[in-house]
């Protein structure tokens, strides 16, 4: 009998505590390395990175954008479950919320290191510039993180020992009853911040690589970022749950849950790709030429060649969409997970391209291309989110009833 067995969810088994300690220790070390990198940045300044006045944004912003897109599985699964009424997704919603919480809290922590004056971070709220997309991002991400905390809290309160406290038990129960309010709020907030993250780059009318026309104040990237996030967020959720199943050696959700999410993802990914290709064509044929650029000006030899475009939209866009659109693709574990990996890679590539390639390409004809490679401090802080995520997720899986179908799928209804 494990010493921490009383903390396990009712009727479940967990691995030996020493293996678990070793496992979480690895994630802990990664996090500690990241905290050390963060300490160096706070102590000595951002000269610890390789960012410069050409590459004002670097690895951290790419990771922030990518994890926020991938963490969209939280709000979107919540929307599907509580607003659209796909009750079968209750089997995976807890995992999605935890992943979302990790992604958003990790991103906020990374941003604290990224800005030059972290103590002044609240000025974005106090001296808000209503015309800036970044202001909108700050407001919505902060409030959405609060929503995620409220969605995560009942799960923590349902820990077997914590729920013995009557107050916590009733609080979590009542929060579940009104969870649709948070799901709705989360959907609303996420729509705006996912969009504004895209809007941030689309409005840069003086950086032709990023600039897009749009509708009213919203560049098309606003809508494309939302679409790509809701298309690939569920893929990321499925990927993490599948990894959890592999590592724990248990089935945790019914296969039909994956199939449903895969189908929804397929549809959204297809719509996204059609609109994204249309937007890319218009930008390449009309917008950029009006500013004196042709496509080959943006995609030159080396790291930012045209292969990037084909990788993002082709290998990591069309291919996973086609896989997920077919029943065989959705029902085969190999193809489903391959498609999820490709889709998640695609959205990461998209964020990378908007951040790094935008900054790499000079606008003034006599300015050069400048190269950028992150320092180890940047990698440390960037990978800390993975370590932190591993820690939180592992602790949650071990001690919280994350997967409602776990008992039914592994221990049978007759076992207590």
């Amino acid at each position: 009998m494990q010493i921490d067995a009383p903390l396990f969810p009712e009727g479940t088994q967990r691995c030996d505590l020493k293996w678990f300690t070793f496992w979480t220790g690895l994630w802990g070390l990664l996090t500690l390395w990241g905290l050390f990198g963060a300490y160096l940045c706070f102590r000595y300044g951002l000269n610890q990175t390789n960012m410069n006045d050409y590459f004002a944004f670097g690895l951290w912003i790419v990771i922030d954008l990518a994890v926020i897109a991938l963490g969209a599985g939280a709000f979107f699964t919540g929307f599907l479950t509580y607003i659209i009424g796909k009750k079968e997704l209750k089997a995976i919603i807890n995992a999605a919320v935890i992943i979302g919480f990790i992604c958003y809290s990790g991103a906020m922590a990374m941003l604290t290191v990224d800005i030059g004056q972290p103590i002044r971070g609240w000025f974005g709220f106090w001296h808000a510039n209503v015309h800036s997309m970044l202001t909108e991002v700050m407001f919505c991400i902060s409030t959405y993180l609060t929503v995620l905390i409220v969605e995560y809290a009942p799960l923590i309160m349902e820990n077997r020992q914590l729920s013995k406290d009557k107050f916590l038990h009733h609080l979590s129960h009542n929060l579940h009853h009104i969870m649709f309010i948070f799901a709705g709020t989360g959907t609303f907030l996420s729509f705006f911040h996912q969009g504004s993250l895209g809007g941030m780059f689309g409005v840069l009318y003086a950086r032709p690589f990023a600039f897009r026309t749009g509708i009213l104040i919203w560049p098309w990237t606003f809508f494309l970022f939302i679409l790509s996030a809701i298309a690939t967020g569920p893929c990321f959720t499925m990927l993490i749950v599948w990894i959890t199943q592999k590592v724990s050696g248990k089935q945790l959700v019914k296969r039909s849950v994956f199939t449903l999410l895969a189908k929804i993802s397929a549809g959204l990914l297809s719509v996204y790709l059609i609109l994204k290709i249309a937007d890319t064509l218009y930008w390449a044929k009309v917008t950029a030429p009006s500013l004196g650029f042709v496509l080959t000006d943006f995609y030159r030899e080396g790291p930012y060649g045209i292969w990037l475009l084909f990788a993002e939209l082709g290998l990591c866009g069309l291919v996973p969409a086609l896989i997920l659109l077919t029943r065989k693709g959705r029902e085969s574990n190999f193809w489903l997970i391959t498609a999820c990996i490709l889709a998640c890679t695609g959205v990461t590539l998209n964020r990378f391209v908007f951040v790094i390639q935008t900054l790499a390409i000079p606008v003034l004809p006599f300015e050069p291309f400048v190269a950028y490679l992150p320092t180890w401090q940047e990698w440390a802080v960037g990978l800390a989110i993975v370590g932190y995520g591993g820690l939180i997720y592992s602790l949650s899986y071990r001690y919280l009833p994350v997967f409602p179908q776990e008992r039914e799928l592994n221990y049978g209804a007759s076992k207590a």
């Binding site: 300044g45 002044r120 004196g292």
Partner: protein, 262 residues
Amino acid sequence: MKPQLGFGEGIKYGMIIDLDKCIGCGACVTACVAENNTSILPDESNKVRSITWMRLYRFDNGKPYPDTEVCYLPRPCMQCDHHTPCVSVCPATATDYDPDGGIVSQIYTRCIGCRYCVAACPYHVRYFNWFDAVWPKGTEAVLNHEVSPRMRGAVEKCSFCHHRLMAAKAKANLEGRRHVLEEEYKPACVEICPTGALTFGDLNNPEHRVYRMSRDPHAFRLLERLGTQPKVFYTTRRRWIRWMSDNWLEGEDKGLTAASGH
């Protein structure tokens, strides 16, 4: 393309730089650093982090000797007049466009250092303080008391020596005048230029030299077709330099005048 002028009403301070007079001596760069208490980095050979509010570019026409021609191009902040790219993106309103004078300001103590403005600016006029400013003992004596030094983690840029405008306005006030005369307010770079390549004044005032010079057919601006409406003009009779001021498609009519050059 002829400049689309019309900066709205009121005073709009601007500059015109004669590239046929600039000899690339760098006095403007030095004067700017001295005037504005710009910090010196531990490694000033790292040009991608060097703080150069006034930056001197050197480029050539790409032809081999004896047809090589070189251009030195001083580049302060363009003080963009239309939908200023950096102002619209700042989340903390640390940078703002002042309609009275047209100068784009920067509040160093409000800047959170997110660097969105640095990303938005196509002219690379904005500089982030990657390091703490260090003033070796004794050097603090040469700091200009009218300009605040900046801290690590904040963005800074050319302000058209705004402190000099404040001093000129105070002087005019004392003398019972509301307006500042053309010769009373000049940024340090304009003042120091040995060849007189830099001219500064009110682009909307017909009595100022910049008014006439900016409307000359040989005047142009950097990245005109982006629509930022910079208030820094350049003039040259050398056509190849004008071609370097913007991006063109192959075969595109670059809209140059018949008034010739090379």
